[in-house]
Symmetry: C2
Subunit: 154 residues, 2 copies
Amino acid sequence: MKRIIVAAAVLAATSAGLATAQQPKPEDEIRYRQSVMNVVGRAMGPMGAMAQGKAPFNAAVVQKNSALIDSLMGLHWNSFGPGTDKGAPNKADPRIWKEAAKFKQAVETGQKAVATLADVSKSGDEAKFKAAFGEVGKACKGCHDDFRTKEFHD
Amino acid sequence: MKRIIVAAAVLAATSAGLATAQQPKPEDEIRYRQSVMNVVGRAMGPMGAMAQGKAPFNAAVVQKNSALIDSLMGLHWNSFGPGTDKGAPNKADPRIWKEAAKFKQAVETGQKAVATLADVSKSGDEAKFKAAFGEVGKACKGCHDDFRTKEFHD
């Protein structure tokens, strides 16, 4: 058993691109932030189509995807630490570090909007979903407008 | 409200790198698979340290991280569709498509091991966690040995 546990742990550390005792490198932090956002974006897609009326409302998908986004939204904010503004191509705006309090507030607005979406999605009510999804979109856009650059930079 | 919903939907489509009605491009599928695995790997890290005795057992972290991995493990398998073997640097082995039934079995073994880990983690029992984590490690390693190349290829 011990050998299996060690193998699993080594695998975990390798998969994450970091040794368990080390601070993640800036490029790993950037990649992680982008990975979380990529998974969030994919989960948003079908809900966006439903909100626009381009796909029929599917309460089960809405519930599953909003719960997933809710569990992801808290993960990557800790990966905007000092020194993670460069190290790999990314779109993080320098204002993230210059206006840290404002960034934190934008993050919290997003987290709250997503938590509300996940909560109302349990009801299976389409109108409530659309309203909550709209608020998530506003929060996403607000944060991206202020803290995401248009082009990638190193 | 309608304008907000449209903005949110456009944002969702943009974030995911795909228009809602389109089939994702191979490079988007590859990026998505890698993103999911990156988030899984990061969640595995602290549990690996605990399994190895390098960090104290923390039942709350184990429960949270194993639930997250459980919700992620089903997401990316659909992104190994035909034609997604190339399009961006990746480590997918051609055997994924040549030995599709074996790959599917390996995937299911991994999903079951992760579901068990998430389940036993609710108990807060360290020994059960270690046993289940070992099985997850075995499943990860088995699939990676057979279906992941050592180096990136285009």
